[in-house]
């Protein structure tokens, strides 16, 4: 790989380098790892990390039974705010995970998760665009 920070596109961001860097699954619930800029999703008993830069939007909804739903939409090429660029051409032939939704009985936890993802995402995006600007 290339380590030139200035040429690092957001799609080059990596959540973890080693398997053992991933925090242990305490409870099987959505977790945010601020330090590694990762969102960990419980899928079939495992915590699956996604770098926050892969996330486009996050939203939540609550029904009458206090059941909460959280929906995470990821960046995919060709969508309105993410047109085909050098990155999508680089990953030609790839399949993208586009969306996941989870159900939860804990509305407080879900609204906290939504806020944390939004804040973390804003931070990372601001840093990356600043970095890109400095590079030009």
């Amino acid at each position: 790989g290339d380590n030139r920070a200035t040429s690092k596109a957001s799609s080059d961001l990596v959540a973890y380098k080693n398997v053992n860097d991933v925090p242990p699954a305490r409870d099987l619930m959505i977790q945010i790892d601020q330090k590694n800029e990762a969102v960990l999703l419980p899928i079939y008993g495992s915590m699956v990390p996604f770098h926050v830069s892969t996330i486009r939007t996050v939203s939540s909804q609550q029904d009458t039974n206090r059941t909460c739903y959280i929906r995470i939409i990821f960046n995919v090429p060709g969508s309105a705010f993410n047109p085909h660029d050098s990155n999508s051409l680089k990953h030609q032939g790839a399949t993208y995970l586009k969306e996941v939704s989870f159900r939860s009985k804990d509305p407080r936890h879900i609204s906290e998760v939504v806020q944390l993802i939004k804040t973390l995402r804003r931070h990372v995006m601001a840093r990356e665009s600043e970095r890109a600007e400095r590079a030009t």
Partner: protein, 185 residues
């Protein structure tokens, strides 16, 4: 050496989360019993099609593929258990394969279908696996998106706090893995 290996504190993973239990592997097959009773999984040697190893955060996972059926995933093996188990399986004519876990956090890769397991691979490493047996509905959205809706899991074994309801994949036009739709789940 007695016929068989036993391990305590082995977690059986699945749709609703994980449960700890006791695992016994013998020449007859595999038996896992949930701690405190309840659920048990019994697999006959003749039904085992293959086994794979994977390093997961701080521990190891053994996957067992059953003829025409599901995968069982057991987690909680120490590094030193690997060689013991590998030798045991090999002496019974099964060669464990090694898989690698992707932790890069990327959302692009490829989808691999094997039996009723759907694996999302990132850079040829496994990011996650789901069972199509738990999918209640699949839908196409537009020309490029496939949505998988999962059953609501109400079993008593479910212990996860947040439950997966839906997944969707985006397959760009330039994807050459799926020509036509007959291979889609």
């Amino acid at each position: 050496m007695t016929d068989g290996l036993q391990f305590n504190n082995i977690f059986l993973g699945g749709r609703g989360g994980t449960n700890p239990g006791h695992l016994k592997i013998s020449s007859g097959g595999i038996l896992w019993k949930k701690q405190g009773g309840g659920k048990a999984v019994e697999v006959d040697r003749a039904d085992i099609v293959g086994v794979t190893w994977m390093k997961v955060p701080r521990t190891n996972q053994l996957s067992v593929l059953i003829k025409g059926g599901p995968w069982y995933k057991f987690t909680g093996f120490r590094d030193q258990d690997l060689s013991t188990l590998t030798n045991f399986f090999q002496s019974h004519g099964i060669t464990p394969e090694e898989k690698q876990l992707s932790v890069s956090g990327r959302n692009w890769g490829e989808v691999d279908l094997n039996g009723n397991m759907l694996t999302f691979l990132v850079g040829s490493k496994q990011a996650f696996e789901v069972s199509l047996a738990d999918v209640s509905q699949t839908q196409m959205q537009g020309k490029n998106d496939v949505i998988l809706e999962f059953h609501v899991d109400d079993t008593t074994g479910a212990n996860e706090k947040d439950s997966l309801m839906e997944l969707s994949f985006h397959i760009p036009n330039n994807n050459t893995q799926y020509i036509g739709d007959e291979n889609r789940p």
